[in-house]
Symmetry: C2
Subunit: 128 residues, 2 copies
């Protein structure tokens, strides 16, 4: 299977697939003409990566998850640990963003937003 088809099937851009090969996440074979040649296993792996990335796991997390996935003797606790840590990061991010949202939406609704220069948003940025 050539890269384009893998791209359409996994939803990953071809560029990204090449990048994943670069950093050692997949290792497709090569046809005689130099084209990458993907087997079903590679496709499967890339689909796995696409889903993990979709859940926000970092590339390095993905590398770890992939290794565990391929390890028949893995401990599910190891997988869970990665996921839990990631979940915590996400929750932190959400908390930060929600704080921003609260402040911003206050400011936006306090600002009349017309042609006059008077602006509570700037005032807040000016004075903390």
């Amino acid at each position: 299977m050539n890269i384009k088809e893998v791209a359409t099937r996994t939803g990953l851009p071809a560029k990204t697939i090449r990048y994943y090969e670069d950093i050692g996440l997949v290792t497709p074979d090569r046809a005689e003409n130099g084209y990458r040649s993907f087997e079903r296993t590679h496709l499967h792996k890339l689909a796995f990566l696409a889903r993990a990335r979709g859940l926000g796991f970092s590339i390095e997390d993905c590398r770890g998850l992939l290794a565990l996935w391929e390890d028949r003797e893995r401990a599910s606790g190891d997988v869970r640990a990665i996921a839990t840590a990631h979940l915590a990061e996400i929750e932190e991010k959400i908390a930060g963003l929600e704080e921003m949202r609260a402040t911003l939406s206050d400011l936006v609704s306090a600002c009349h937003g017309d042609d006059r220069p008077d602006c509570p948003i700037l005032k807040r940025l000016e004075a903390g």
Copy 2:
């Protein structure tokens, strides 16, 4: 005022202040020895930037906000437009993260997380 003091007063790392000069957000004077010399206006500007960045505004947004801040004849509507757009971005990010959080926390609680290999998290990543 030397950079270190500006850094402590604004909470911005010295590196960041230099960077802001690089990209034209502030233009401190120079002392004879080549050291940057910050006036109160620069300090003020940098504090403004620190707050705007703290609310998640991009550097380019900050540039725009700074310009409006310094424009006596600005329309508050212009400020509000920037803030509104940014608020929308933040809300999108939050929505994305919350989706991830929901899925992840489901998976984490479905995974017993012990020494056995059986793992619903991997199963999900495998099969979508």
